[in-house]
Symmetry: C2
Subunit: 750 residues, 2 copies
């Protein structure tokens, strides 16, 4: 019976064996030839599912086996059958294991699902050779961090230092009103240190640096997001719209006070009934020549201003967007400077303000609703950069149509979208820094006889976190470039707006998806408020909505691409354009499609192929979208209807374009990196980013014959392998985000 | 010039035209043959991008056009060229539009991207025929609702009525301590009404109905989720583990008091260092024969009990999981009844409890940490259904090995997973009810001259909500069947555990994804706390973690499938099994693969094909996973290592299995529905569920040659079309969830 003992023990010790399996096992053992009756009965009693051995008997059996195994050479290399043979040898020197017994053991192993020396290791409580420790990253996180900061390192570092001061520590369990006051105190300190006005002209206390302002914003986005939002409302939206929509008299009167925090203000655009479609806002600003004033009125409850930051408590004035009516002509939406509260904080006559009440997050921001009941402001209150009313009550504008004026107005505020989009990537960085660091310390499960496995060593964990880390770097560089372009002002305005819309939409979706994945990756510890995922998640949630609903923004991207298309064929006649859109473009694209190539790693990691493939997908999607739209227009739909009918393609098209843009910018930034060590790490991330995105859209690539089924499988395999490789860099990569510990603040993220 | 006026107006009114485009337009106009010099100059000045017309001029131009167009027959059917011709005709009767002008107008339309009568409608401010109103659902929501409730309608309705009472109204801005007290008051009321003890035996005040208990739980899940969790901890985990792990003496002593809420208790399993891997818990319960007691000790800080509900404030006792050590032998994890606090709420000697502090959500639950320092409990405190220690200090158990005992213990608590999984589907229902109702009232954008479009009429909105609605119905029926099976006890225990694990994991992921999509679909209004997405999202977030981390649970599913596999080949020898796993199974599956079929709608909506396809994918994934695992085992990896290496496939395999299971149960429930009207609606949902899932995994189906590229595209198209069809049922479908208004409580969700 001796050689069967280990298998018998393992059979009972296995927690997953059912009674049926035990019976099957029993039948196997009983079928062994050449065992004497006594032995067979003993075996039968050991394996009787209805009368299992007592725990004590099992412990004794284990002790006996371990006793017999003492002194064996390298038992950790033996499978159960070998161990059995060795035990027989030890017990009866010179006696080989009999064939039927050997076969029975092999069969038992098959039933038990045991292969190799594993069961032996567990049985004898042996320590396996431990797995090699993770490699340290072959790059200097500080060098990479400096490259991420780029030319804006100075302002970033100074904001990092400031936010690391104890007075910027996060409150615990604070009541909403106290939280709002704290956020106000913080906001004032940022103002005092000149951070709020970095983007304003020198003559108004600023540094004339929008790049610096947005860079400061990206660092603030690692801190409390209510502060970020309040900061953005006060200095970006309120002060920024004064700067960009107003003229010198408004700048002289308000800009310095806005930047210093002495004049707190709101950006009163959104109305309850009009959030996305702000062109159709309903608040009225009617010019009255009798008093040379505008009279501002909320015509009905649905036209109240809603979700307005700084309104419920602190704002003393607002930039109010309203339909400007002069001599009974509605000139569309314009912005006016409107005082809301007196110096005591009391609402001025005609102004009614309500608190929006509790929100999902951003509870440190005092969002409110505003109604106007015949509020009078002087003619000079009109922010008149794009349109004005003269002393004779004559309306004039350099932009002839109301729609066009509106889009110009909105376009001049694109910095808000750039800022919020870039901030969302900071949020993703915070979440990843916490989750990656936790995963390099937290252990759970693992092979017997070893310390439990680090959770970052699990393939599933790597798959969850590493591609999101890669995408975060990709978006980082895409936003840095967007900021550069925005500041330089050299890019076509419409193209810049489309890029800002697309990057903000997909960047903020990426961010909230990443926070969620990171929270789950930290389990119960991730659910504690102190570890910050709750705040990151709840506060950043609305990034997908404010500064433009993401779904609406994605449509703007595609519309802009279609408009480019329209331009491209402007000198063909109408019928020619139809024919072209319906077939030739797609056919042409097929001709210039990137090589199908193989499923080999060299091809799959070829950056040129990546770039071509993404570009081709984007162009193909636009052409196909144009063709689909055209088909519907031809069948009699209006363009709005046609656009709704193809909306799914509109969104796919926008995503393809944004991913192509992001890849292009990521690849370009890697090329420019002077440090070969971090360049290698970034190239690995870029491979992972591309391959994960192809994998995600592999249905499309397969449908369109751009990758083979074999390549598709190879891409998944490679993405898994690269995730495992990036795992070794992960800690260094998140360190390169340079988030101060005091700002990240999560106990598990240190 | 007359015929060109409309196009000129549109060119300037179009908000999206750039200066470059204006110049291109200008060049077009100037190229028109046969225009006299004066006219050409006038035109040039109208289209000069550097000197645009004044707003007043543009308004006058518009007024002029509208004046000329008065009296035209059906101008809403004219494109710009036709309108121009008609204007010429009106101005100069009998004069046809000249060919060069007609061509110029056509070219202008091409540049402007205008096709059809749309521009004319906008230009003349005409009202188009309005789109037909949405159809009312062709089924009775109450009939469908009753079918969803099934045999458990009674208990569900009574809980609905109870929760609709004003005293169950949600608090606003409540401090955490007050919130906890309120939740306790609610919990006690549920106890008093016998809802907590429904699952307990009659002799202890219950109704011996686990089905009723879980049904009540699914309705509670529409209410405050802190209450749900407290309820689950008290009656399900604490009381349930006393019922299932204890014996008569424990039942007699505690069960009635647990059910009545007189004895509040905790389920103290998780430790800081061991959340998922609870088999390796470290709390010790050492038997001391001298006093016939167990001494319970927390050996180090990482072994403290963590995240324990009811611990921080209200629990007077706990079922504590600890390693049972008798006579120096560690028998693995066992459960003991341990008093925590005296009747004054003071911690008993040796017990230390800390509050876990603020959490992401569930702030009405008092989660805490517990340390034990030599806490003595009598021998009878051991919940001894599966193991006991007799008066001689002898340990005995009907289950011989520690691992197996542990899995049996855990397995007996599977009801918790069933409950939390089913509750997560209720959360998805709440979110969908709010978002769908809002989307049937909220309007934004739309064609000129009409009321703005209902947001549910946008394809993107339908694509966002309708497939999630379909999946919610699918999971609903899958869980109802799981509850039936759990209650009946006729399904093999291991299979039931695997189903519960899989449905809980993918069901709760579905739920939080759905809440997020619904929040975004409601924009800023969705971000207000009163509309409940914040609470739903933050509270339900941890459903992906508690009762088993979803990623770990998904692995359990696949492990269970592999174990079945192992059994299936138990009577082949080892080499045979290897060969089989390595190739034959996959080849065999290829032979029995469902027909590739066409891309036609009839085929794509064939339920039998759906079922076969999903089953085949699931079986293929298991076979492939087995083969992959085997390959790694053969190359010398141990099973834990091999399983980690193939973890990505492990998760894919689990998902395929769960989706197949869900589809099967959904289809079966539809078959049994006696009401043909709602059956039709459900069949539509089922089509949408299947097609969306295929679309999501179309990469895999394409790689494996199970659908053609043409079918893949057709599936996406059909999924979009069916989403548009389901849109008409949407309101009725969410009404069928029978969530009382008072419980849903979102102002936008009425």
């Amino acid at each position: 019976m001796l050689p069967l003992l280990p298998a018998i023990y393992v059979a009972w010790a296995d927690g997953e064996l059912s009674a049926g399996e035990m019976r099957s096992l029993c039948a196997h053992v009983e079928a062994i030839e050449g065992i004497d009756v006594e032995c067979r009965e003993a075996l039968g009693s050991w394996l009787d599912a209805d009368s299992p051995p007592r725990p004590g008997e099992l412990s004794e059996l284990l002790a006996a086996i371990r006793g017999l195994a003492t002194g064996l050479d390298h038992p950790e290399r033996m499978d159960l059958a070998t161990l059995a043979a060795e035990l027989v040898h030890t017990g009866r020197p010179g006696m080989p294991l009999r064939a039927p017994e050997a076969r029975a053991i092999a069969e038992l192993e098959a039933v038990l699902g045991i292969i190799g020396p594993e069961a032996t290791v567990a049985l004898l409580d042996l320590r396996r050779e431990s797995t090699p420790p993770p490699r340290t990253p072959a790059f200097d996180p500080l060098v990479l961090g400096a490259y991420l900061d780029g030319s804006r390192a100075g302002v970033r570092n100074s904001v990092r230092r400031l936010l690391s001061q104890p007075r910027f520590g996060y409150p615990v369990d604070v009541a909403r009103d106290d939280y709002r006051e704290l956020v106000l105190v913080w906001t004032r300190e940022l103002a005092e240190r000149g951070i709020g006005s970095i983007g304003y002209p020198f003559e108004y206390g600023g540094e004339d640096s929008m790049g610096g302002f947005i860079a400061a914003f990206t660092v603030l986005a690692h801190h409390d997001l209510s502060l970020l939002t309040k900061f953005g409302v006060q200095f970006g939206l309120f002060g920024g719209s004064l700067a960009r929509l107003g003229t010198k008299r408004h700048h002289d009167a308000y800009l310095k006070a806005a930047g210093s925090g002495d004049l707190l203000g709101c950006f009163a655009m959104t109305e309850t009934d009009h959030g996305s479609n702000v062109r159709d806002l309903e608040t009225l600003a009617v010019y009255t020549s009798a008093t040379d004033e505008f009279v501002i009125t909320t015509p009905h409850d649905g036209a109240r201003k809603d979700y307005i930051g700084n309104a419920a408590a602190h704002g003393r004035a607002a930039v109010v967007f309203a339909r400007l009516v002069v001599a009974n002509v509605d000139h569309g939406v314009h912005a006016l400077f409107v005082p809301l509260r007196d110096t005591d904080g009391e609402e001025l006559p005609g102004i009614r303000i309500e608190d929006c009440g509790p929100k999902i997050g951003l509870e440190g921001v005092d969002n409110g609703r505003i109604w106007f009941d015949g509020v009078r402001v002087p003619r000079a209150a009109l922010l008149d950069r794009f349109a004005s009313v003269d002393e004779d009550g004559e309306y004039s504008s350099g932009i002839p149509s109301a729609d066009r004026r509106f889009f110009t107005t909105i376009g001049s505020l694109v910095g808000g979208r750039v800022s919020v989009g870039a901030a969302s990537i900071s949020v993703a960085k915070s979440a990843l820094a916490i989750a990656v660091r936790y995963a390099t310390r937290r252990r759970q499960f693992g092979p017997a006889g070893e310390p439990e496995t680090l959770i970052l060593d699990y393939a599933a964990h790597q798959r969850r976190l590493m591609p999101r880390l890669a995408a975060t770097f990709a978006y980082h560089f895409a936003f840095e470039r967007l900021i550069d372009d925005y500041v330089a002002g050299t890019v076509d305005q419409r193209a810049l707006e489309a890029q800002a819309a697309g990057l903000k939409a997909y960047g903020s979706w990426h961010a909230i998806d990443t926070v969620q994945a990171c929270r789950e990756a930290c389990g119960g510890a991730g659910y504690l408020a102190e570890n910050r995922f709750g705040a990151l998640r709840a506060d950043a949630d609305v990034f997908t909505t404010y500064e433009g609903d993401n779904t609406v923004l994605a449509q703007l991207v595609s519309k802009s691409l279609l408009s480019d298309y329209k331009l491209q064929f402007a000198d063909m006649n109408l019928l020619g354009t139809i024919r072209f859109l319906a077939g030739k473009t797609l056919a042409g694209l097929r001709e210039v499609a990137p090589a199908l190539g193989g499923a080999d790693e060299e091809h799959l990691r070829d950056r040129r192929w990546h770039l071509e493939l993404f570009k081709w997908r984007s162009e193909h999607q636009v052409a196909a979208l144009a063709a689909r739209t055209k088909k519907r227009l031809d069948s009699g739909m209006d363009s709005a209807g046609a656009f709704v009918a193809v909306q799914d393609h509109v969104l796919a098209c926008a995503r393809a374009h944004v991913e192509s843009l992001v890849l292009e910018r990521f690849a370009a930034a890697i090329e420019l990196n002077p440090d070969p060590d971090s360049q290698r790490a970034l190239n690995l991330l870029c491979d992972l980013f591309v391959l994960t995105r192809i994998e995600h859209d592999r249905g499309w690539f397969l449908e369109h014959g751009r990758i083979s089924a074999a390549a598709s499988k190879a891409i998944r395999k490679l993405a898994i392998e690269i995730s495992a490789e990036v795992r070794h860099d992960a800690r260094g990569l998140v360190d390169a985000f340079l988030i101060p510990d005091a700002v990240l603040a999560a106990p598990i993220g240190r």
